[in-house]
Amino acid sequence: MNDSLFSLLNYGIYGTAILVILIGLYGALVKKSLLKIVIGLSVIDSGLNFLIVALDYYKGGTAPIFSLGYLNGTDKLMVDPVPQALVLTAIVIGFGVTAVALSLVIRLYRHHGTLNIDEIKDLKW
């Protein structure tokens, strides 16, 4: 890949990740249905994980696994393994929080019969 195309990729990948985060933020802040708010939170998590993984790519690098053909890691450039490990943890934590949020949505639906956030605001803000 020649360099100008690669620099386009720079804007493309980071731009897409941040766009996904912004879409999730918009959904979580503006939408009225509880389910859409929870989906918005989940989309924020996905965009964030994408952004983190995009940080560790090196041009021409390969996966950091020392299988039988790559026993000295120094002759081939390897990508950074640390953000991948962090994202692994972050995905699982994001799943846990989404599960708890959805169970709250179920309980709110049980009590009020509607998912619209305007009708559920019993407590003062």
Partner: protein, 494 residues
């Protein structure tokens, strides 16, 4: 020494995984095992704190890899003091809620004690760790326990309060992750001491962005205005002891996180002014909101947020006296506010909405509880000779030394405001007649015992503050010394 710092996290986790199995054998074990764990941890932390005050901080490596390759835990005078406070409060809350309202049944009790133990463990983990991603994981552990405990009662309001909490908590963790990755992408390491020794190599725009994201994220947990929208609802709808746990444990750990970042890792003097401004705004808004409340727990929640604002102002002075005053405030606030939540919970035990006027006349029916509530109210306002007086005096002294006369005026005005709304409640308890449709429930023995312990401590500190000021001086000196922190952690890398 009876153990090492990692046991503060490992033993509760082991107990947490064992509780479902033990619950199948004998049902009382579900209540007893967390108590045993907390007792052991309390003994361990007092032991370690004594050791650390004499010999210097303990730095423990995990998995045998020295920092910055591996993760490390730091038990110094500052973090050890907070850990002991958190575990002591956790023990009191366990004792109080041994059989309380809904957790007399087995199934909810199993989950309640598990979540309570994990709330305490998560907060202890935040204070002990020396690695920023590890702190993120512990913040999430504390968060999920908090979301579930807020929604513990089956009414409709608690689910809504918990939903608000979860919404803001998710945004907080997203910003926190973003800030961690910005730091990692420049410095290549995740260890706090390592980052703080290399932070001057980062371009300023990255430093400022990262700091703003950090303060936004941790400010949501630590209830800085305007990020504290979740807090009054969560404190009101959670069970009484859980409200005490939030005010005394979770907020302290989040404040520790912010302070550790600003003092040790980032070390930018411009951020001190930011702390003072944010603290003052929080204090003013929260205290004015507290006057207008007519529900008891909501009033206590706003009062708690306001006092945290004062703690931030004290940390923002940047001097050692400021840190000493802030730590003293944190200690007093933890104990007194917990006593207020615990006793206030019995004063409005049988009412559905917990209005203040429903506590009228309880002075005759619940004499000890009312006395303890009044004691807590006087102590927190700062009347001598109770404990709160000494901490407010320390704040005023530190403010005078830093020539911030506006702060002195503000603290005095706010103290008067607090006096107004607390005295209003005490007045109702003692001098009004009890309302007819409200029943009084006497506290159980364990609840009474827990509240009495807190009351005794308030009296002791009030009459003899030197019992605690020695430890506080060592703790504040330890926080101010940034290079010693770096040296203690990185010198293991031989």
């Amino acid at each position: 020494m009876v153990g090492t710092p990692v046991l503060f996290v490992a033993i509760p986790l082991l107990a947490a995984f064992l509780i479902p199995l033990l619950g199948m054998i004998w049902k009382e074990l579900v209540r007893i095992v967390p108590g045993l764990v907390l007792t052991y941890l309390l003994i361990l932390s007092i032991n370690l704190l004594n050791y650390v005050l004499v010999h210097g901080p303990i730095v423990e490596v995990i998995a045998g890899w020295v920092p910055p390759i591996g993760i490390n835990l730091v038990f110094s005078a500052f973090s050890g003091f907070l850990v002991t406070l958190i575990i002591f409060l956790g023990f009191i809350v366990w004792l109080y809620s041994y059989r309380f309202k809904r957790n007399v049944d087995f199934e909810p009790a199993k989950k309640y004690f598990l979540l309570l133990m994990m709330l305490i463990t998560g907060s202890v983990g935040i204070v002990l760790t020396g690695d920023i991603f590890n702190m993120f994981v512990f913040i999430e552990i504390t968060g999920i326990s908090g979301y579930a405990l807020t929604a513990f009662y089956t009414g409709r309001n608690s689910a809504e309060a918990s939903f608000k909490y979860i919404f803001l908590g998710s945004l907080a963790s997203a910003f926190l992750l973003l800030a961690i990755m910005i730091i990692y992408s420049q410095l290549g390491t995740l260890n706090m001491a390592d980052i703080s020794s290399k932070i001057h190599l980062m371009k300023p725009v990255y430093k400022i962005t990262s700091l703003i994201f950090f303060i936004t994220a941790l400010g949501i947990e630590a209830e800085i205005f305007p990020l504290n929208g979740w807090a009054p609802d969560a404190y009101t709808e959670a069970p009484g002891p859980v409200g005490a746990a939030f005010a005394g444990i979770v907020v302290k750990a989040s404040v520790y996180a912010i302070i550790r970042y600003i003092y040790t890792i980032f070390d930018m003097s411009g951020s001190f002014d930011l702390l003072i401004i944010l603290g003052m705004i929080t204090l003013i808004v929260a205290e004015t909101a507290a006057i207008r409340q007519n529900k008891l727990k909501r009033m206590l929640a706003y009062s708690s947020i306001g006092q945290m604002g004062l703690v931030f102002v004290a940390f923002g002075f940047g001097t050692e006296e400021g840190v000493f005053a802030a730590l003293f405030l944190m200690f007093n606030h933890a104990i007194i506010k917990s006593l207020l939540f615990l006793s206030g919970s019995y004063l409005v035990y049988n009412s559905k909405d917990k209005f203040i006027h429903e506590a009228s006349g309880m002075g005759k029916y619940l004499p000890i509880t009312s006395f303890l509530f009044a004691l807590g109210a006087f102590a927190i306002v700062g009347l001598p000779p109770f404990a709160g007086f000494w901490s407010k005096l320390a704040v005023l002294t530190a403010a005078a030394d830093s020539h911030m006369l506006l702060i002195i005026a503000l603290v005095l005005i706010v103290s008067v405001v607090e006096l107004v709304y607390y005295l209003r409640v005490v007045n109702r308890i003692y001098f009004f007649k009890k309302e007819d449709h409200v029943q009084a429930t006497r506290p159980s023995y364990n609840g009474m015992f827990a509240m009495l312990i807190l009351g005794v401590i308030i009296l002791v500190i009030g009459f003899y503050p030197d019992a605690i000021t020695g430890i506080l001086h060592k703790a504040s000196a330890d926080l101010m010394d940034k290079s010693k922190y770096i040296q203690d952690v990185l010198s293991l890398n031989q």
